[in-house]
Each structure stands twice: as structure tokens, then as C-alpha cells.
């Protein structure tokens, strides 16, 4: 039995189809990233899993319990931790009072240990908390009862880089102890550092479920290149160069400082091959950075997020039935368990 099972989950708000036939499983003991741009429907899926929203169609199960049945949902909530996308607590209460309430209802196995990692100012009232402190308190309440499954909606928003790193290490260590983690994000780099598999949602529809490596292989890097002399396009005819763009024209005759010629492209190949090729030119500037998530979507999942069949040659590595049209990528668990 998978930790999370979604089957044809649909939430129709009338004017918006927030989730459209979403189907996938999250296996026990894995870290699963739920990736999509803002407004894609990630929070709708998560809040349906928590029983806060009732699905228009389809079913969802947590640790084998149907979330639309309140009795079953209550049973599973004892083993579940949940961090909403912007957790909120009683403004006039102190952090300590909030933790005491949570401890009295769901138990407290490890808040002391968690408070060493994430240390919100417990004796101050929540209204004086910064966003980061609220997030830290939220993380403590999520993990304090030592759950078997945690669902985190954009967990690192509001955390500074140091704490983000601490959070990542903590989650990895918990995974080693058998915890299942389902978390949403719109930041690719966050997902790549943490996840075993990712599900990608766009406009309410699941467009892929795959191991994180295959996503990263195909998402590629954004390369910006400035050279003294224009590089002939032929020189860049190597594997993995996509969407080659030439900057319209820094005019070296009018500029005081010659700006050279600019190229920008997405690169999914071997960086060493690219650097070898560039040795023949005089490079003024070179940046290689992670491709923005939106670009990844545009390239691999098409403009409408649904038509993925056309990129079939790229998708062998995914190992899943990627015809996102039917939402059948849900059985993605088969290739990494």
C-alpha cells in the first residue's frame, strides 16, 4: 500500500478546474516533490488530501485511509504532519502556548529536539513573530508527534538559506528513519536537492511523474555567452543545445566598451563538450544557471501543459507512461522501488 494514493482527483470550482483527474501514488519512505508554477493546483491537491476540501470526483487515500471519510481521516491524522503554505497561529498566544495545545491533542514525542533545530522565540506572542519564525513554529508542530507521513506546502518559503539547508538535512535524515515526505514547491533547485521523485502539475493537470534525475537531465541549464567575435551557429551545433538565441545587436561601433556578441540557449548536454567548443573563441562572459521552471514546462510539456506526446523521444528515461493526457503517469512508482 502506498503512503498517498490519488485516483482521478478532480476539484471543480465552476469557473476554475483546480485539479483535473489527478492520479499518482507516493510510495512509503520516499521524498516526493509536487512541482508546479504558482496557481497550478498544488495547494488544492494538498488541502483535499487533508480533508479540508472535498473532491468533485475521484478519491484520495493517506496510508490506506480514505480522506473523505471523517473517521478514517481522524485515524490517519494521528500519524500525519501537515504544514500549510502560510501557517497561521493565534496571534495573541505565545509560541509555547501553541505547542502546549498541540501536545495536548496529538502528543509530543520530540519537540525539544526540534526546537534545537528550528528555534522560534517561544515566550513571545505570535503577533511579534517574523514570517520565518512562524514557519519554524509550524515545522515544530508538524513533526513534534513523530508522524509517519508529512505533507508540506512550500515548506521553505520564509526560511533563510541557512535554515533551508538545516531543513533539507533534517528531512533527509528523517527519510532514513522511514518517514514519507510529500512537499510542494515552485522552485526546481529546491526539489532537486531533496526529492526522489517529482510530480509536475500545471493548470490543474498532472503532466508527469518521474525520478528527479530524469527531470534534471532534461530540464537543462540556461547558458548565456558573450564573446568578442560572433560565434558561428555551426560552432554550437552540439548535442543538447536548444532554443539558440542571438542577441539583437550590441553595436560595438557606438559602445564605449565593446560588448561583443551574445548568445543564450538551453543546454542539456555535457558541459565539458561545450567548454571545449568555446575554447576557440574569446569569451567575455559566461553564465550557466538552472533553467527557470516555466521554461522547463514550456519546452517539455507544451504550452497547454497537456500535450506531452510530441516529446516522446526525450522521455524514455522517465520510465513512466507519460501520456499525461490520460493522467496515467500515476503508476510512476514502478521504476524506482
Amino acid at each position: 500500500m502506498a503512503a498517498i494514493e490519488l485516483e482521478g482527483l478532480t476539484k471543480d470550482y465552476g469557473e476554475v478546474l483546480a485539479n483535473d483527474d489527478v492520479t499518482f501514488d507516493v510510495e512509503r519512505g520516499e521524498i516526493f516533490g509536487y512541482l508546479g508554477p504558482n496557481g497550478a493546483g498544488k495547494t488544492t491537491t494538498i488541502r483535499t488530501l487533508l480533508g479540508l476540501l472535498s473532491p468533485t470526483a475521484g478519491t484520495a487515500r493517506l496510508l490506506g485511509h480514505d480522506v473523505t471519510d471523517e473517521e478514517q481521516l481522524l485515524t490517519v491524522k494521528r500519524r500525519l504532519g501537515y504544514l500549510p503554505d502560510s501557517p497561521a497561529f493565534d496571534e495573541t498566544a505565545t509560541g509555547r502556548a501553541v505547542l502546549e495545545l498541540h501536545a495536548s491533542i496529538k502528543g509530543d514525542e520530540r519537540s525539544a529536539e526540534l526546537l534545537e533545530l528550528f528555534d522560534p522565540p517561544l515566550d513571545r506572542e505570535i503577533r511579534e513573530y517574523s514570517r520565518g519564525n512562524v514557519q519554524k513554529l509550524g515545522l515544530v508542530t508538524t513533526f513534534m508527534h513523530d508522524p509517519d507521513l508529512v505533507i508540506l506546502d512550500e515548506p521553505t518559503s520564509g526560511l533563510d538559506p541557512l535554515l533551508q539547508q538545516r531543513f533539507n538535512e533534517f528531512v533527509r535524515a528523517e527519510r532514513e528513519r522511514g518517514l514519507t515526505v510529500f512537499f510542494s514547491s515552485h522552485i526546481l533547485s529546491e526539489v532537486r536537492r531533496l526529492c526522489d521523485r517529482v510530480g509536475i502539475i500545471r493548470n490543474g493537470r498532472l503532466v508527469a511523474v518521474e525520478p528527479v534525475e530524469s527531470l534534471l537531465d532534461r530540464s537543462g541549464k540556461l547558458v548565456r555567452l558573450r564573446t568578442a567575435e560572433p560565434i558561428p551557429p555551426a560552432a554550437l551545433e552540439i548535442d543538447g543545445v536548444h532554443d539558440l538565441e542571438t542577441a539583437a545587436g550590441p553595436n560595438s561601433e557606438t559602445d564605449d566598451v565593446p560588448r561583443g556578441s551574445e548568445r543564450a540557449f538551453t543546454f542539456t548536454g555535457d558541459v565539458n563538450v561545450l567548454l571545449d567548443r568555446l575554447r576557440e573563441s574569446r569569451v567575455l562572459d559566461l553564465s550557466i544557471e538552472e533553467a527557470p521552471l516555466e521554461d522547463v514546462f514550456m519546452r517539455f510539456y507544451g504550452d497547454d501543459g497537456g500535450d506531452v506526446g510530441s516529446d516522446g523521444d526525450d522521455r524514455v528515461a522517465a520510465g513512466t507512461d507519460a501520456s499525461g493526457e490520460s493522467g496515467s503517469s500515476g503508476k510512476g512508482g514502478e521504476n524506482d522501488v
Partner: protein
């Protein structure tokens, strides 16, 4: 069980103490002015000068005894109107404010059912309801003796005890508004409006053909005049108020179980 009630209840203690002190001051003031009022004003003439609807709305029957005077100056005004509206308003914030500010997600992530959240939050309103009735009866009883117009301890106790089911019924109106509307400001305005409308429907329609409409108003079943002037305690009325309270609570729980928390 009742972890949320304990938590909420503790957070309402301080406000309830202030409420109790404020109402005690109002009680002391009303009692303090009564002797000079009685001595210098021809009370029957004063009553005759008021238009009948005003007397009806304010529940004025007589000013010739301290009981009658307290009944409208303190209990109709302070308990039926002020406290009734306050409890409808405050209770309307209990669920809607959590939903409004996104706190309900955190609450419902805990292993606690929705109906229990509603029930426990509502139960915590016992703190202001009972708290408001702790200090004032002592002030009324002692004050009345001090100015030489003693009122029986049983009557003072009864007028406060019987106000408790009344105030719970008002809180029930607020609770129901709180689950229907997910914006606290709207829930609170609706609760205030409905409670005041019920008060008016009860007091204005008495003696008219439309009197039956007032039967749904909690105000019909709590009558300070009957207690303080006639010494009669309406236990059936208290039972009806309890039944009303339970109906509002159950309706709110059923509704809240079914809605999406947005």
C-alpha cells in the same frame, strides 16, 4: 477531550473578568442613583410620559420598586441587549476568524473532528457567559441592602442563573453565523443584526397580531421583570433556551462538517 475548550477558555478569562467588573460598575451605578430618582421624580408620571412602544421595547413595567427599576435599567439594557449582542458577536468570531485568517488548516491538521472543533470552541464561551454573572449579583444584593431596598437573594440569583441559557442561545446565533460565513467581519455583523432584529421582533410585536413571530426570539424566554417583580422563575423558558442552544450547536456542527475550508 476538551483540550480546545481549556485552551480557548483560558484565553477568555481576562476579558471575562473585565466584563464582570464593567457590568458590576453599571449595576452599582444604577442602584446608587435609585434613591434620589425615587425621591425626586414622580415615577408614575414619568412612565406615563413615555410613549408605549418605548416602554415595551425596554421592558419597563414599573419603576416604583428597585426590582422593577433594575429589571429594565440593568437587566434589559445590560444583559438582554448588551451581553446578548456581545456574545452573539464574540461567538461569531470563533470559527469564521480561524478560517478567515488561515488558522483553521493548522487546527484541523490535528486529529480532531470538525464537529468537535465547533463544540469545544462553543463550550469555551461558558467562560464569558458565566464570568459575566459572577460579580454583579453580589454587587446587586449588597447594594440593594445598602440603600435600604433589599431584594431577596434567591431572586438575584435566579435572574442571573436564568440569564445563562439566554446568553448561550445568543451565542448559538453567533456560532451558526460563524460557520455559514467564512469572513469573520461578515459573520459578526450578521450575528449582531439577527440578534437585534430578534430582540425588536419580540418586544415590538408583543400584543399585536404578529406576536407569534417573537416566539423564535430568545428574549421571549428570559424575563427579568417576572423574577424581580413577581418572584416567578420561568424554568420552561430556560428549557426552551437550552433547546435553542443545542439546535444552533448541532446545526452549526452539521454545516461545518460539510463545507470546504477555503
Amino acid at each position: 477531550m476538551f483540550e480546545l475548550t481549556r485552551y480557548d477558555g483560558r484565553r477568555r478569562i481576562r476579558g471575562s473578568i473585565y466584563l464582570s467588573i464593567g457590568l458590576s460598575l453599571l449595576a452599582a451605578m444604577v442602584i446608587w442613583v435609585y434613591p434620589s430618582f425615587e425621591a425626586e421624580v414622580d415615577l408614575d408620571q414619568l412612565l406615563a410620559a413615555y410613549p408605549e412602544p418605548i416602554l415595551q421595547v425596554m421592558g419597563v413595567r414599573t419603576m416604583a420598586s428597585l426590582g422593577g427599576f433594575l429589571s429594565f435599567e440593568l437587566y434589559t439594557f445590560g444583559w438582554i441587549i448588551l451581553l446578548g449582542l456581545y456574545l452573539a458577536y464574540a461567538t461569531a468570531g470563533t470559527i469564521a476568524d480561524d478560517v478567515d485568517r488561515g488558522r483553521m488548516d493548522v487546527v484541523l491538521a490535528m486529529p480532531i473532528s470538525r464537529s468537535r472543533v465547533v463544540g469545544e470552541r462553543f463550550a469555551a464561551m461558558a467562560v464569558p457567559i458565566v464570568g459575566a454573572n459572577l460579580l454583579p449579583p453580589i454587587v446587586v444584593y449588597v447594594g440593594a441592602r445598602l440603600i435600604g431596598h433589599p431584594i431577596g437573594a434567591a431572586d438575584v440569583l435566579a435572574v442571573h442563573l436564568l440569564s445563562i441559557p439566554y446568553l448561550f442561545a445568543c451565542a448559538g446565533i453567533g456560532l451558526f453565523a460563524s460557520v455559514i460565513f467564512d469572513r469573520a467581519a461578515i459573520a459578526q455583523r450578521v450575528a449582531l443584526g439577527v440578534t437585534f432584529a430578534l430582540f425588536l421582533s419580540e418586544s415590538l410585536l408583543t400584543g399585536t397580531d404578529a406576536e407569534a413571530i417573537g416566539a423564535i426570539a430568545p428574549m421571549r424566554y428570559y424575563d427579568p421583570n417576572a423574577v424581580l417583580i413577581d418572584g416567578s422563575y420561568d424554568l420552561v423558558g430556560a428549557g426552551i433556551l437550552l433547546a435553542m442552544t443545542v439546535s444552533f450547536l448541532v446545526a452549526a456542527q452539521l454545516w461545518f462538517q460539510r463545507i470546504d475550508i477555503s
